[in-house]
Each structure stands twice: as structure tokens, then as C-alpha cells.
Symmetry: D2
Subunit: 463 residues, 4 copies
């Protein structure tokens, strides 16, 4: 269940535009396409031809924060933008990105997606060097690492040095008066893709931002790579020889829009394939297959196709629930007021249902959906989850709850089935994720506990 | 393609609550579920136990207009609410419903859904009797017909007399200090259903409003019937012996939410069945079936199931496009900025696609979607429409364009195919609508031109 | 003390423009100048050259409700506007003016200022004739009286007949497709003045609206007169031979802006003169004279000039207190948080002060101001009120409290002095009002209880 | 003419509260009283008992930015607040104060009023030391000077060292988890006063903030002094032995509210005295004296009192002109639409008028007012300015235009009189300022060009 109902969240989306007139407009439409990656806040910084930087930012959705009036001053053909998902670590308006820094060697702006695992250590180190911080954002940390004492230094070398000091999952966009530096962590946790539009370029966390801007995908930034975009086109630097492709599995399973491609693999296609695999691994005899909208629909279609069981729309998600929606009172909740998701009685009544969801986190949502279906008359509810059991927190930028809150830490499969009160329950195998992505490397730490990086004090924070 | 992209619109949704404490809260959640029927404005009137009526209304979505603060004064356990779709005939804040009238025989409030065909004649007649009007709404007309010169009259008799003077498609809710009158036209064009919640009642244009409030459907108001709800429960009056069940076919095809049941028939199930019929009537060999979100997905699933061709998500509709979205400039539009709907290249590339849509009105949207798919790499695009060719305007409350604007008035099937540039094109037969609804009567005037009522001056307006 | 602190209120201001391109703009600036007469809501109706009427209205200040975007559709060179002060009788958005009525004999719009004393009787009479009402406004009443059954009637005759049926204090503006009817009650309670601007005309409740629009005052509408403005200029009709000039004394004393002239007498000059008279009638030995801002400053200047005692700024009124100001908590209030009005300690400390105010209504504000001055160190506080004791409610459109709430009903002069805790207290004589206005007739009913009209059921409402 | 019409501006107001429960409430009311010092933006930071800092800030007026909801999280009994006037140097949301800094030695917040003259030099120096800046505010500069490398340092010593590095006009409030540091420049340019409220303290740029909070003035922070407020009360440190009292003359003449006292001298009393001096220096025979509202009224009263010429209200300033006011079109302006200020014809007609204003900056406003009065019928207009000719820009925080824009740089007295088209013109002598303040030291650099400090690169910026 994506977006508003959700219990796990991606942290942010980044977007950059180089060499396209009125770059702000493309940023606006592109951030709109990335809105699902962060709905707490949004920001844009542009550089005009006099090298002056302009910024607008605010808490809220793209369409709430930005309008033609406040975007008018955002002149220039280079720009970066950001949609924010506030985490416990970096919440509130102080952490709105991009950050904008003034310096006699030239102003620069930074936006990022992901999470550093050594940020506590770096903050202390930098404060002892004389830095002070106005936010708790990793972007401000990187800014202090890449500031230059004098103008004779070469920026990219400073950035290479800085990236070697940080550890974790990240994509950074650094914008100077005439360059765009696109950086990706050496593990390859977070995606960052490049597209071409006319003589210019668009860089984005997700390829769905290209489609709305008309840009054509050309390639991904590699793990450990810095792609510098300037008037000469693309230049590639590698700041680390250590390179893996531990792409976050949850990007496929949950976060990304179905129309995005992650390193060449379409997200809807991946999900449909996991649905098929899920049927192979855990078949069931039933009357209909339904998915939890929106993120589990593709897997449900795959399960239906593989099984030959009809795919039906048995759950409806409201399209108009927004920020200003008044929560039903407890009394009304007990009376059965269900705003975001409702079951369709005439579809599920007296039917045996296969319910496909993408994950079980705390278990309460699954339990509630099973009850919804039973109250609507479902004869049987067989839950099939299109990912493995989630047993570990993420330190790479996904806002998964702590160990204590993850229900799979507390129950075995049968116990969990009883908790959510389904007639049967099965999870996808970890192997199927590799099959569906056709990859040999993935970060599946939240399932397996095998973290690709050292964790520093992150684990302490968790405890 | 429902909601924002659309070219045809339902006019309004009504909702009533009787005998439930803090009736405003249920109205709020229920109107939210009916939001797709009218997004221009919203209003609520309640009656408190001192027989005082309270109203809040405004232009905008339910969540934009209503908040806990302005809803607080709406006390009482009887209430009616309304979501407005502004038509050319009745646009702007003056036509916001419910209307509230003060009178020494007792205040009353009215809300309606539908369209009278003799409103011009009635207005003139009433003005000559001494009435003056502040809006162009049919509800104000009815109010002038049912005002009572003295308090000794019996309200329901006045209403019976009034309903016999009006002709057209309507459902009216009339609320007095202690009664709720639920009226439906004698042709049965517009739906109106009743549900029970505890000791009280909920009345709504669509049953999806019951699900969110926890109320249980009990029956529909019959064509030509007035159901009076008061402290003694339901009382039925019939104001006309002429009764038909010309339910509007577009309610099934397009307007209603898939989780609503119209006179016992689920909307998703109906649509899926039309998809199956469509395959029977117009099969095609292709790689994938895709539907135009959201209203054509059910039919696409049906077509896929009947044909065995895989159902895929090849078009994505943005969830965040709202009122305040900035329209892309012409320049950007030409660069390919597509905000509301985008094709998924990795799904449709090099594939032969069956595209299911629910209707073709002006043809421009269909043409655009076909082009989107081709630009995304589709090899072939076979368009299948899950309803007959729309050739006539509607005078019963559906905001269909004039004859001149309906593309099926200008082209034969092959001409239309060329216009939208698809590889093939087929429409569903009218007969299939009767089959899928399992009904013998339906209003299919927009397809056939057979209008169940006299049209008075409506046709003049059209010309 | 005018505006926000106040306990008595004028009911509304009206404004009309005839024959001036983009009439809406002048209405906007003029309503802004009349803002002090009503701060609850505002509305504008214009007529374009195709005789189509356009309206915008809303609750709030002129600058809050109106903006260039929502005023754009207000085309035409004839317009009327209104600022609303909500009374108990006619509160809330339903009573926003101007009212706009649709009719086959031609649309028309109405706005008024004042209060009818026979509105209860008229409402019942009209309802029995078949009218129903959507508000409790006198404007809607008049509309029902002047609607025309057929287009052959002459509008002005219908209006003459209607005005003879109503009793009370009023100025009405009635706008049709090409005419502006400016009506004033036969007692002359409420002001209505006409000015010329180029080839067009401006009509307003107060002449301060002329100054901002650049229009030049030409004359007042007479009591009992209807001035019809059309393409031929001004035409005068008299609907009653009974004519008096009982102009409301509070218009001079309190409501009007000091830069307005009421029937030839400047308001600031009048107030300054009452200050001088007040010194003649009630001299006192003191160190400084101060006035309660803003409405009592002129009288204080007059008192100072007549007495030779220096005029000082000893009380400051905040300029930024607005609708959204957060009221201090009780606790803070006790700590002395005083937002709207504060005394200046270094001015009043150890001084004997003459405090000039325009009226005492409930007495609580005067008591509070005296305490403010004493806490700031004033040695003596001598209160001088620039009007007679207010002992009676107003039925002509001024929102004065009931008998019970008027403190002068409960105390004699010495008792009242003790209540407000001043060292001395004096009121102006009624005679001085006639002297200062240089008039023989005035409505001083709130001081004397001599109501110029019959009161019908108004007194019952009061009781 | 203060506030909206103005051409010169104060830069900001600061406010601190120590040891008073719900300190945010007092800050709210106090900032409201300081609103005239900065209307662009507002901010509050509080420290709760767990030493956590909370901030709210935004562009707009106090009542626009702050509300009970967004102020709720501002817990604690220590707080600082700020109202911003954006200068060319430090405009926009990035410069909203207070600034809030996170550091392992403890978080701290800073707000300031004034302007450093060596900020360019300091910025470069600090950047070379490794600092980077996110704003162009002097507060951020100071923060980098007072950050501490390790927790064993004593904060006040670090601040003393820092203040010795900066040059210019300032008052700084620095708030740590349990202390409030109140710093004032050694020249004494900008005021900063301390008051007591119960067991706590209030510190403010102007004493008018004390009156609204009920706090009692105790003393001013001395030039070159740091007053540290903590649980032990007030502690005084002197960071410089150089001490002067070059209080800004414009604080008296123009910026401060008339109810404020500046170092013991009431502002209204000062202005009234300058009016008297002005009469002595430049008497004239005339019928009436009028002042330009609001800041020149006191001087006009003084002139009237000294001369015996009656003081009248001949100019009216609109109270409702706000941010959202729509500017009249050029066409309307020519028609005479005058929104902010209007002359009162019945007061000035055929009169010889003495017009008192506080200053002439660009000359255009004076010229406009003289024309207003002539158009309203004034026979003669004698302009008297209650301050000397302004010939030099300010580098100490007053936003006076450049040399080029100051009209007194271009005309001698007679030339200026012709420019503004008055019958006579006179300015106050510089000596009279010393007399009226009863001081021996004042900063009158804008009149005389004698700048008390070295100017560094400020003059280059000007050129």
C-alpha cells in the first residue's frame, strides 16, 4: 500500500537539470513525478547567467508550495530540486533541501537522497574543526566537507576527497555556478539516472521524472562514480575502486513508481514477475485475486496470470484523502468509518480471496485489511506477500521501524498468520527477488540482516 | 478516464443522514466518498434539536472547504449534504447546494442531483406568480413550488403536487425541522439508495458512501416514489403511477465508483463484464491489454481475462495533480511534458497493445493517448471502447458536449479510427449493456437518441 | 474609540458607480475607504454591456476578500458595492450584500444600509403572498416588494410603491441593467451623497469614498427622494411628501471618518467643536488633555484649544491588531498584557489628565482606560464625554446594546463616575450637538428616547 | 510618515524573555508591539526544560506568520524573537532570524538589530578559516565567531573576544540552553532595554514592548556591555573600554513608537519639543498646523502649541491598507485615486497651512503631499521639517537611499522648496536635536556626514 497508508518510507528524491532554458519548469514537473518519494517538503535552487542562485522551498506538496508567482524569480538554465521525506533524524523546515551556501570561491547548492551511517562521527569531527550546523541533514555535512579554503583548488578533487570520508547510502547533486556534480555511493544503494533533452541533461532519482519532461534516458550514474555535467557535456570520475551493485530491493518492491526503470528493469514488470513467482512458490485454490492498491496491484496481476484465477478490484483506495482530511473520531472509527481503503462487498462476498500485498511491517494494516474483507463477506482470505519477511531496520535511508516494532521479529509464520487472522499466509523467497530483477547483487538487509556496510553508531541509535 | 482528464461529467451527488448524533461527521465522510460526482463545491445543512438550521458551503473539494472549525456549528442529528458539479446552466457560488429557506411555516433545505427539462417553463411560470430567483438551480425552483402559504398544509402533499409539475431526471432531498423527504424521478434516471446505521438512516446517490460510514444498504428509492424519513421510520408515497427504470447507462459505464452497486449490480463487475463482451464482439490478436486509468481498468481486466492476453499497467495517472497544478507552457507541452497521464515505455515498447477506454467524446483525448503509446514504442494500438458510439447530448444531468462537439456525429467508424490514428477500433454494442446489467430498461439516449421524456426547450438551448 | 475596540457599530456602507469604465476598480478603492462602516464582509456586483451581472462576495476585509484575480470577471461600467457589519438580526454569509436577483423582466441587484422597523410584519405579509426568503436581510425584503410581474411596468413606480410600504432608516441602491436607483428614507436618518467623476457618477454612504476615487461631491440624496441615474444623467423622484432631516447624531460623533462631510458639515470640525463646547460646559484644571484614539482625537484637540491645556498623545492604539490576532490568555491579561491600547507612562506620570472619549456604552472600556492611566502614573483623571449620556437602544441600524446593557440606565452621573473610577466626569449637552452641527433636526433617540418613527415589533425584540 | 509610505527603514527589532513560563506568549505580544521595526518577517526560538530548542519563522507580519497551532511546540521559559526588515544586504527567507545552531557544546540561537561595517572583511576571514555561510546576515557571522571548539571554554569569554572583532552598530541577543546574552555595540547606536516581570526578565529594542507585557523597565544595556541573564539574575561584562552614547537620532525622529522611551527620553515628548523648537527657528503666520500621520503628529502638536496656531487633522491615513492591497492602475492614479493618504478638503480649503513632516528623503512624497493639499484647496502650504537636511547614507542599519537618491544632495533649500512646490520650507537645526534629547552625544551622520566609526568597504558598496 503506497503513499498515505504506509508505514515505511523512502527518504527523498533528487532532480537536476543542466542547460535547458527555464530549468525551473522542468524541475517543477519532474519533482511532481517524484512526489511519492517525499511529501513533507519541496525545494528548488537555480543559477542564472550572472551566477546568482535563487531558491524557493517550503513544507508541503509540490502543488501546495510552488506556484507561478514564487517560481518566477527562479531564473537560469541549471537547477536542482528535492522532495523531502522527513525522518526522525532530519525533520522539519530546517532540513528542507536543496541547501544553498555562500562562499567567496563561489556559491553552491546541495541536495541528497539516502542516509550516511557515519554522520554522528563526521559531525563531531567537523565541529571540532570549527564547523557549526543549522540542520541535521547529511547535505549540510557534505557541504562542510567540500567547502574550499581558496579558489585555486579544483572542486571535483575536493568532492572526491569528501566522498571518501562518508559511508552509507546516498546520491548527491552538487550545483555550482556552471556545473552539476552527480554523485552515487560506491555500494550502489540508491538509484540516479541521466537523460538527455535537446542539448541539455536531466538527472533524477527515478526515471519516471524523465517521461514527464520528455527527456530520453541515456545511462545511470555508476556506484562510486561522479558524473560532472558542464558545457562540455558529461565527464566521469571514480572516487572509489570498491564498487558493488547493492541496489535497495525495496526500490523495486515498494517505493518506485511502476513506470520507472531501475537500472534497466521496469518496476511494474518486476512486480508482476514476483507475483508469478509467488504463485509458483505458494499456490492456492481460490475464486479471485485482489491486490492492495496501489503498489501491490502489479504483483496481483502476475499472480492472477500465473494461476488463471480471475483478477478483481476488491479494495478501493480513496483518491481525495489529503493533508487536510479530518480524521474520524474514535467513535466513528468503531462505527466503521474507513476513509482511505474500502472493500467491495459485491465482489468479495462468498468468495475465496487471494490477497496480494507487498510487505508486512507492523502487521496492523494487514490485520485490518483481512478484517475489512471478512466483514465484506469474503469466505476465505489467503494472504500472499510479494517480498520476504522484514526482520531488520534499514540504515540506508528507508524509514523502517525499529526491531521492536517489526512484527516478523515477534512471530513465526503461523503466529503471524494467526495475528492477521488470514486463512493462509506466505512470503516470497529472497531468491525470487534476484530472479525477478535478473541481478546477482541487491541490498536485502531488511530481510536478511546482512548489511553491506559497517554501521558505526547507527545501531546504538536504534537501541 | 475519470475525474480530471474528463470531458463528460455527472452533475452532483446528494447525501442525507437522519437520526444519527453529530450527523455532520457522517455527511463529511460520505461526501468525501461522493467527491468524484462533483468537485466544484460542497455544502452541508444540519438541523439542531431547537429546529435551527446551520449551513456551511464553499467552492472547492470537501477537504478544502470543510474543516473541524467551520463544521463545529453544524449541530444536530439530521443533515443533508451536496457535492456540486457546475454546469453551464448552474455555475458558480450562487448555485452551491443545499439551499436553505426561511419561512414562518418552518425553515427547510433542499439539495438535488440531475436536471429538469422544463425548468425554463417553470421559471417563467413562477416569476409570473410572483417568485424571484437568486440562482439558476433546479433546487431553488422546487423550493418555490413547495413553499406553503400557511402552516396548516401537509408538507408531503405539497411536495407530491410539486413533483407532478416537474419533468426530467432528478433526485431531491428536502429536509425540514424533523423530516427528510427523499424523492426520485418517475423514470428512474438517477440513483438514490437508503441504508441503515444503528437507529438512523443514510441516503445517498451512490452506495460507496455507505461503506465509509459503516451503514448497511437496505433498499433504493423507487422511481416516482417519495420516502419520508422521520421518527417513525420510513414512509413511502408514490407521486406518479408512471414508473420506469431508465437508469442512466453512463452511471455504470463511467460515473460511479467501482465499489458502488447500482440497483443491485456492482459497477466493477458490470465493467469487467463489458470488457468480456467487448472481446466477444471485437476480438484482436495482441501482446498486452491495457486500460485507461481509472474508470476503464475493470473493462480492461475483463477483456484480458476473456482473451487470455496478459493485462498490463501501460499507462500511469498522476495521483498528485490538483487544482493548484501549474499548466505546462505550450513550449513545454511540445517538448512532451505530460503530467496527468504517461505511458510506460518498457511495458509497451515493441508490443501490440489493446487499449480499453470507456468512451470517446471529442476524440482528442483518445488521439493523444494513442500517440503517447506510439511514442513509447508500441508496435500496434488497437482501441476498444466499452460503450457504444456517443452521438447525442444528455438533458438529464450529464454534461455531455453539444451535437457539434461529439466526434461520432462527424465520422463513421473508419473515419474515427483514422482521426485517433489507431490500428483498429471497435465499440461495444448497445445490447451488451443490457446483458451486462441484466436489465430490460436503461437510458441510452446519448447513444441512440431515444429520449425517454419530452424535451421542452432543452433542445433549443442546445442549438 | 473607533473600529476594533468598539461596542457600538454602524450597519454597513453602500457604494455605487455609474458610467465609469471598469467600475469595479473604483468600487474596490471606495469600499476600502468605507471599510470602517463594516468589517465582516464585502461584495460587488457589476453589469456588463451585454446586461449580464457579475458578483463577488465574501466574509472578511476588502483586502482579504477581493483580489485582482477574482475581480477580473467583474466587467462593466455600472456597479454597486457593500461592506457588511453583521448584526444579530442579519449575520453570516447568507446576508452578504449586494443581493442579486434573476428575473425574466431583467436581473437586478440591491444593497442597503440601515434598518427597517417593520421588517417582521413585512416578512410575514410577503410569505403569505407566496415569497420565501434565503436570508434575514432587509435587501431581500425590498427585492420581493419591487419584483415585477410583467415587463411592461415602469420600475421606478414599483419602487415608489415599495418604499411607501417600508418604515425605518435606510439607504438603498438598486441596480438594473442600465440604471442605478438611489433611495433614502423620508426621515433622513442615513446619509447618501452623490459625486461626479468625468461623465459618470459615484454614490456613497460617506464622502470619504469620493476623495479616494477623485470624484467631486455634487449633492446629497434628499430624505424621501429617489435619484435615478441613467444615460440621461440624474432624475429625481419623491416617494413621500413627509420629509425631515433627522440625521443620526452618532454619524457625526462616532461612525464617520473625520475627513467625511455629512450634509455639508465636516466630521473632524464637528468633533473639534464639541470638544470646545465640552470645555465651556465642563471646564477642569489639569496638566494635559488626551483623547482616546482614533475617534475622540478631534474632540480632545478642541478641548485643548479652548482650554489652553496642552494636547498630548497619552494613549497609543496598535495599528497591527487584526482578525488573526491571538487573544492573550486570562493569565497574561492579569499580568497586564494590553494589546490594542496602551498608556504612555512618561507622558501621563504625575500629571493631572483630561481624558476625552466620544461615548460611554457599557462602561467597561472607560473603566479600563482610567485604570490604564492610573497604572501609568496619572495623578488625576478627569473624564469628559463628547456626547450626551446614552440611555436607549437604536432601531435604525446602529448596533447599540439593549437597555439592560447600557450603563447609563443603571447609574446617575456620580454613580457612573464611581464605576469608572475617574476623579470627575461630565457629558456634553444635547443642545451642543445642534450647535456643533448647526442643524435644527437630528436623531438623538439613543440619548433622549424620542424615536422619530413608530417602532412596531422592534421593541418586543428588544425585550 | 511612518510605516507603509516610508522611504527609510529601521532594520529589525529584537526581544528576549528569561524565566517566564510560556515565554513564547510574551514574545508574541512583544513582537507585535515591535512590528513597526520590521514587517517582512518574524521568528521565535525557545528553549524547553530539556534544553531542546524550538523555532518558528516565516515571511510576513506577526499575525500572519504566527498562530496558536504553530506556536504550540514553542515550549520553555527562555525565548528570543525577531522582526525582520529586509535590506538589500540581507533580504529573503534565508535571513529570517533568530538563527539556530546545533553544536556538541550546546545549541544556541542568535538575533540582532543593526549593521556591521566590517562584515565583508569578516566573511572573507572566516571563510578562509573554513566557515561557509547560508545567509548574508550579521547574526550568522557572529555565530561563527562565537562557536566553541570544545565544551570546556567559557561562553562569555568567547563572546567578548568575538565582539572585539566586529565593528558597527548592533544589539545581539544570544540564547543558550540556560542563559541569555544581551550585547550592545560600544558606540551605543542601537537601543536595548531591560525590564523585570515577576521573577523573570524581558529585553527589547524598544520599551513599548514592555508596556504590552506588563514588564517594568529597569535599565538599558550600556554601550560596550554584555548583560548575561541566568538563574542568578543579571551579570554585567564590559568587552570594551571605549564607550560613547552615539544613539541614532533617527530612533527619536522617526523609527520608535511615540510611547517608547529611549534612554530615559520619551519619543512623543522629544518630537513635540522639536516641533516647538521648529517654531522658534522657523516661525510662520498661518491658519492651521497639520502633521503627516503618524510619525509627525507629535511635532505638529508642538508647533501648534508654541505658535498658538490651531492644530487640525488635515491629512488622513488609511488604516486598512495592507500587504494584499491592489495597487491602483496608472489610469486610476491619474484620476486621483489616493489610498494611503488623503487630504481633508473642508479642513484645508482656503486656509494657509503649516505642514509638519519628520524628514525629506527623495522629495517625491513631500511633493505629492503638497499637491494633495493644494488640490484640496489650501491657500498656502508652509513645509516645516522636524529634522535637519538628510544628506548622507547610513551604514549602521538604517535603510537610507544612496547619495544619489537623497534629494538634499541635489538642491539647496530654495531649490528644494521649488521642487516640492511649497510656499516656504525650513528644516530643524542639528543643535535642536541635542536640546530636545538633552544629550551631548548623538549619531547624526545622515545629516552631518560625521560617521563615528571607520567605514571599511561600506562606502565602496555605496558607490
Amino acid at each position: 500500500m503506497q503513499y498515505l497508508e504506509s508505514q515505511i518510507h523512502e527518504e527523498c528524491g533528487v532532480l537536476g537539470v543542466y542547460g535547458i532554458e527555464n530549468a525551473r519548469d522542468l524541475i517543477y514537473y519532474g519533482l511532481h513525478a517524484l512526489q511519492h518519494r517525499g511529501q513533507e517538503g519541496v525545494g528548488i535552487v537555480t543559477v542564472d547567467k550572472d551566477h546568482k542562485m535563487h531558491r524557493v522551498k517550503g513544507m508541503g506538496l509540490v502543488t501546495e508550495v510552488l506556484n507561478s508567482e514564487n517560481m518566477r524569480p527562479l531564473e537560469g538554465d541549471i537547477a536542482i530540486g528535492h522532495v523531502l521525506y522527513s525522518t526522525a533524524k532530519a525533520a522539519g523546515p530546517d532540513n528542507l533541501q536543496p541547501f544553498l551556501f555562500h562562499h567567496h570561491t563561489g556559491d553552491f547548492a546541495i541536495a541528497h537522497n539516502g542516509n550516511l551511517v557515519n554522520s554522528n562521527e563526521l559531525t563531531r569531527y567537523l565541529e571540532e574543526q570549527g564547523s557549526i550546523f543549522q540542520s541535521t541533514s547529511d547535505s549540510e555535512l557534505l557541504a562542510h566537507l567540500i567547502k574550499m579554503e581558496n579558489a585555486s583548488k579544483i572542486r571535483v578533487n575536493v568532492i572526491i576527497e569528501a566522498l571518501n570520508k562518508i559511508e552509507g547510502a546516498f546520491t548527491f547533486l552538487v550545483m555550482t555556478k556552471d556545473k552539476l556534480y552527480c554523485c552515487r555511493d560506491k555500494y550502489g544503494f540508491r538509484p540516479l539516472s541521466i537523460a538527455r533533452l535537446g542539448d541539455g541533461y536531466v538527472v533524477a532519482s527515478e526515471t519516471c521524472a524523465f517521461e514527464v519532461t520528455g527527456a530520453k534516458y541515456i545511462r545511470d550514474v555508476e556506484p562510486g562514480e561522479i558524473v560532472v555535467i558542464d558545457k562540455n557535456g558529461l565527464n566521469s570520475y571514480h572516487y572509489s575502486m570498491f564498487k558493488h551493485h547493492y541496489m535497495c530491493a525495496m526500490e523495486y518492491i515498494y517505493f518506485s513508481r511502476p513506470d520507472s526503470d531501475i537500472e534497466g528493469c521496469n518496476v511494474h514488470a518486476f512486480r508482476k514477475e514476483t507475483g508469478k513467482q509467488l504463485y509458483k512458490e505458494a499456490p492456492v485454490n481460490a475464486d479471485i485475486v485482489i491486490g492492495v492498491p496501489d503498489s501491490s496491484l502489479s504483483a496481483a496481476i502476475g499472480y492472477a496470470e500465473a494461476s488463471g484465477i480471475p483478477y478483481e478490484i476488491g479494495l478501493i483506495k480513496s483518491r481525495y484523502v489529503g493533508r487536510s482530511f479530518i480524521q474520524p473520531s474514535l467513535e466513528l472509527r468503531e462505527k466503521g468509518v474507513r476513509m482511505k481503503l474500502s472493500a467491495v462487498p459485491s465482489i468479495v462476498r462468498d468468495r475465496s480471496v487471494v490477497l496480494i500485498d507487498d510487505s508486512i511491517v507492523r502487521g496492523t494494516t494487514s490485520k485490518r485489511i483481512v478484517r475489512l474483507l471478512r466483514e465484506a463477506g469474503a469466505k476465505e482470505v489467503h494472504v500472499r506477500i510479494a517480498s520476504p519477511e522484514m526482520k531488520n531496520p534499514c540504515f540506508y535511508g528507508v524509514d523502517i521501524p525499529t526491531y521492536k516494532e517489526l512484527i516478523s521479529q515477534h512471530y513465526d509464520l503461523e503466529g503471524l498468520r494467526q495475528f492477521i487472522d488470514s486463512d493462509s499466509l506466505a512470503f516470497l523467497s529472497k531468491e525470487a527477488l534476484y530472479t525477478a530483477t535478473n541481478r546477482t547483487e541487491l541490498c536485502t538487509a531488511c530481510f536478511s540482516g546482512d548489511y553491506p556496510t559497517q554501521l558505526y553508531s547507527s545501531l546504538d541509535d536504534e537501541a
